[in-house]
Point group: C2
Chain length 410, copies 2
């Protein structure tokens, strides 16, 4: 059902990053369910994690390992990712299990367990199958190669119907540099890290703090600007590794090429984030919600998410019904102080449907219908209150969404 998305058929390797993707046996259907990223010593690493107070054992441990490794001046050596089991809501046993899997991989790679970052996605509330994890790790380390990105993209999928990968090549300091990334996620998608995992690597030589700044900025306008169903998951993470194999001079905030790198990274993140929405559970539409003339950025995002989360707007999108009243009603209940609905204009793509808070005098239903029949639609709202704006991406709400989420565990 994915909307306007074509699976990549080639993701160039990133020097210094070896990957393996195996079917350890966590998923019952025999598909790949374990992915390992391995690096040489000395990579830089940036990361963002879920803001859900109920966060999964691997998230807790990955944060702890990152901070302990930093103190010990150690760099990450591997990412250990499993799908099919989120290791969330699993208490102390879940934490011990995550730590044990890191230790197993550390033993194989002859490094400290703190240099392994664990990630899990899948069903909540079940303990990891530890013997399966152990044999999977042993198998994975024998299969590490640089040319394994597409297989890794498939190995982290859960309810995804297509694999998500994106890449950019750019020149930094006269050196050709690559940024490649993979992501997974289709449901429980909401701002502030959705149920998504994203792993990006570059061979660029990037100063640590600048790397984190670039990632945080890129995530704000990509993964934190998408929503499928308003639910934020317990396991979200986005990790960016820089291997420094490209031999460019160390990139930092004052470098001439700083903006080039940041822009490329943003595009990779946006492409992956939009791929998650395009593959949103049950999605039949890819919808851009573009709010303009807001009094503040916060207010703009607030209106955008109120529209994007409205079940009535989403079901109208599913039905290709230009029901502008539902959009206007969502604007009206977004909680904006002293909103003058008489100053609100709404467009579907280039068609003005609401002007001054009522149906536009020149609007004809056929025009709205023509736009609504498209698989990709922009809802643009002018609030008439200022000059701030926000753009987010979302999907419709279909029968298929209900089916997928009602039957998830059966």
């Amino acid at each position: 059902m994915a909307v306007g998305i074509i699976e990549a058929d080639n993701i160039p390797p990133v020097a210094g990053v070896r990957l393996a993707s195996v079917a350890a046996g966590i998923k019952k259907n025999g598909r790949n369910d374990m992915v390992v990223f391995a690096f040489d010593e000395g990579v830089s690493c940036a990361a963002t994690f879920t803001q859900n107070a109920f966060c999964a054992a691997p998230v807790t441990l990955a944060k702890k390992h990152l901070s302990a490794a930093k103190k010990a001046q150690l760099s990450p050596r591997a990412l250990l990712i499993n799908s099919g089991n989120a290791n969330a809501g699993t208490g102390e046993t879940g934490l011990q299990n995550a730590a044990q899997t890191c230790q197993w991989l550390a033993d194989e790679l002859q490094c400290s367990a703190q240099q392994i970052l664990p990630f899990s996605t899948g069903v909540i509330g079940q303990q990891l199958p530890m013997s399966v994890m152990r044999s999977g790790i042993k198998q994975a380390v024998t299969k590490l190669t640089e040319d394994n990105w597409l297989s890794a993209a498939r190995g982290i999928m859960t309810t995804d119907t297509v694999m998500k990968a994106a890449t950019e090549t750019l020149m930094l300091d006269g050196q050709k540099v690559v940024i490649s990334g993979i992501a997974k996620g289709a449901g429980m998608i909401c701002p502030n890290m959705a149920t998504m995992l994203c792993f990006i690597a570059t061979d660029a030589n990037v100063e640590n703090d600048f790397l984190q700044q670039c990632l945080s900025d890129a995530v704000a306008d990509s993964f934190n600007a998408i929503t499928v169903d308003g639910d934020t998951s317990t396991n979200d993470a986005c990790v960016l590794i820089a291997t420094a194999k490209a031999n460019n001079a160390l990139l930092n905030t004052t470098s001439a090429d700083a903006g080039v790198f940041a822009d490329s990274l943003s595009r990779v993140c946006q492409q992956l984030a939009q791929a998650i929405v395009r593959d949103g559970e049950g999605a039949t539409k890819f919808v851009t919600v573009d709010i303009r003339q807001a009094g503040s950025g916060h207010e703009a995002k607030n209106v955008a998410y109120t529209i994007a989360h409205s079940p009535l707007v989403k079901t109208a999108l599913f039905a290709s019904d230009p029901n502008w009243g539902r959009i206007l009603a969502a604007v009206g209940r977004a909680g904006l102080e002293q909103l003058d609905i008489g100053g609100v204009n709404i467009f579907l793509d280039d068609v003005c449907i609401v002007r001054g808070g009522g149906v536009d005098a020149n609007y004809r239903e056929e025009q709205g219908q023509t736009v609504m029949n498209r698989p990709e639609i922009t809802i643009m709202v002018e609030l008439g209150r200022g000059s701030e704006s926000a753009v987010i991406w979302t999907t419709d709400l279909s029968h298929e969404y209900v089916r997928i989420n009602a039957e998830y565990r059966t």
Copy 2:
């Protein structure tokens, strides 16, 4: 599909209230679509309206008429209600049309237009069919009788599958008093007045300010504590008329019977509010969300609505899937400052599923399954942060919800 609701077969008349319900022709299916409540001079009136900034023409006009009548020391003489057309998003023409319909009814009843309160529900963005409205009004005034409550309850329905009516009799000051009410609403249901209309009348003799206080309190714990889909409508209103025909001494906040009246009114409102949820679009479950041990009432309601609005929780309820991870994840993302998830317990009816932030050690899936198979379920969450609490009512999210809302205008 309504859950655990039996249509009333008798609503006792309220002295001083005459009703008519006719098929004016606004709805295309020939069902009743216009209801008139008529009163003698001298009734007391209390009302609450939608807080949506995009409010419909009749809401704007009803507020204006109420305040103008008060200034002129006139009491309302009639409520003019139509279903099938919301007269929302209809601009200046919509306001003029609403005013014209009030004038027509005022002419028939020989009173001022300010003494008529208009209410509309149905499709947004279409002008009222004025000739149909005019003939409907003429027809309705010939059919006003006190014994017409059930027919009126049917006349205000839109996507409702059952009519909603509730009644209580009580003794005030030694006099037998009746409170009868009808309501409509099944979708776009959210706190702060959902897409619902509710009309209640009593023959009690009640002081005006006290009447408004009783209504506001009753609405807070009934219509403002229900949610089907998180959408707030443009047309919501709840009106309470007291005709003073019962000959009790004027009831005010200091009366001995003040609490008796307030409690009866609250029960009528709660019964009608719960009926709206039970008849929620596509509802297969009636779900009570009961939050305890919160740090504040605001925080308790926040957690309650985050659970009640989560599409993942709602689809799990539809699937009768005791997926406690989704409930815990909703608690975790409700935005509570420094929430210790380790202090959270969750119960499905009497079964503890989560204790201390993880699955309860004694929990077995069959226990959760047994509860989930019931049509009426209570999700009780203990936050371990204080002593405040909140109770709200909601439904699941079914295929049928999507079908109803995708096909609403087709």
